[in-house]
């Protein structure tokens, strides 16, 4: 979702006509979209790289976000969100494509089986100390999406003169979506590691592409729903590359029988 500039258009709805309940529901739905993106990144990164550093990154991200909200309050609307989106989106798509192509190679060689039991240390993941890759990915996802939620709350809450209802709506969205993410974590961990790396690489590349292009002031067709289109695009391309690699049409890989 675009930043406060769009939310400034909310008076069209008529601030006086907005009851606290409708402010709560509207903010809940708008914030839920952003929190879903946040949770997908955290669950995906944690499943591939391990949870300790991922939680640490998410926790530090939330603390920084809380500090920014406390320090700047309604002045948050002055934060250059597009510049943040450009930096974080570009880094996310560049890094996401690394996991994307590694996942394609591994699925082409091993199929969708056998790698689920592979220990994290075999993937070059740090088992002692902080895994900075997991930390940075998780931190950036939480901070950017959290800032977008804060923008929604501040912009919508102030415009509709119902800041507490807007804050409650966003908090409720966070609790509901984060709880669903915790439940989904067990399901995600059942996915074989090779396929999981491809899946998370696809998601990171999709989010990164969306944010980086959006930061240039370009509107995606169907707004946030374009993320789903990007996931399908990268997913179909990955499937095509896997088939081409397995048939030896793109390059030679040793396929495990």
């Amino acid at each position: 979702m675009r930043d406060g500039a769009d939310a400034d258009a909310i008076p069209v709805l008529g601030a006086a006509a907005m009851s606290p309940t409708s402010v709560f529901v509207t903010t809940f739905l708008a914030a839920a979209v952003e929190v879903i993106e946040m949770v997908i990144i955290v669950v995906g990164v944690g499943s591939v790289r391990g949870w300790r550093s991922t939680w640490l990154g998410a926790g530090v991200g939330l603390v920084v976000l809380a500090l920014l909200v406390v320090i700047f309050g309604s002045a948050l609307r002055a934060v250059p969100l597009d510049a943040l989106r450009l930096v974080i989106g570009s880094l996310l798509v560049i890094f996401g494509l690394q996991w994307y192509r590694k996942g394609i190679r591994r699925v082409a060689v091993n199929g969708l089986r056998g790698m689920g039991e592979r220990p994290a240390s075999a993937e070059g993941v740090v088992t002692r100390g902080v895994d900075w890759t997991a930390f940075v990915l998780s931190f950036k996802g939480v901070l950017l999406e959290g800032l977008e939620v804060a923008f929604i709350v501040v912009s919508f809450g102030l415009t509709a003169q119902a800041l507490s209802s807007a804050a409650l709506g966003a908090a409720a969205a966070f609790v509901v979506v984060a709880s669903a993410g915790l439940l989904a974590r067990r399901l995600v961990q059942r996915i074989p590691r090779s396929a999981l790396q491809l899946l998370v690489g696809t998601l990171l590349s999709s989010f990164g592409t969306f944010w980086a292009v959006e930061s240039l002031g370009i509107a995606w067709p169907s707004d946030d729903a374009a993320i789903l289109g990007l996931v399908i695009w990268y997913g179909v391309a990955a499937a095509a590359y896997v088939v081409l690699l397995r048939r030896g049409r793109l390059a030679t890989v040793e396929v495990t029988p």
């Binding site: 570009s90 880094l91 798509v93 560049i94 980086a212």
Partner: protein
């Protein structure tokens, strides 16, 4: 080597791995695609499609190059 120098080296190595990884051309393609997307946008040309196409093409070239 001092602690600061070691830390700076590790910091630089981390970001090199994070951005460049095993193939600098993919990162360069993403940056170039973003610049071209922005220029097309300034010229009022619909350009949202360029990044996903460039990213998938760069991946294909990487797979072709590194698979041989």
């Amino acid at each position: 080597m001092s602690t600061l120098a070691r830390w700076l080296r590790a910091f630089g190595r981390f970001w090199y791995g994070f951005i460049i990884g095993d193939d600098w051309t993919v990162a360069a393609t993403v940056v170039a695609a973003l610049v071209v997307t922005w220029l097309l946008h300034l010229a009022d040309v619909e350009a949202w499609w360029l990044m996903p196409v460039a990213a998938v093409a760069a991946t294909g070239l990487n797979l072709r190059r590194t698979g041989r």
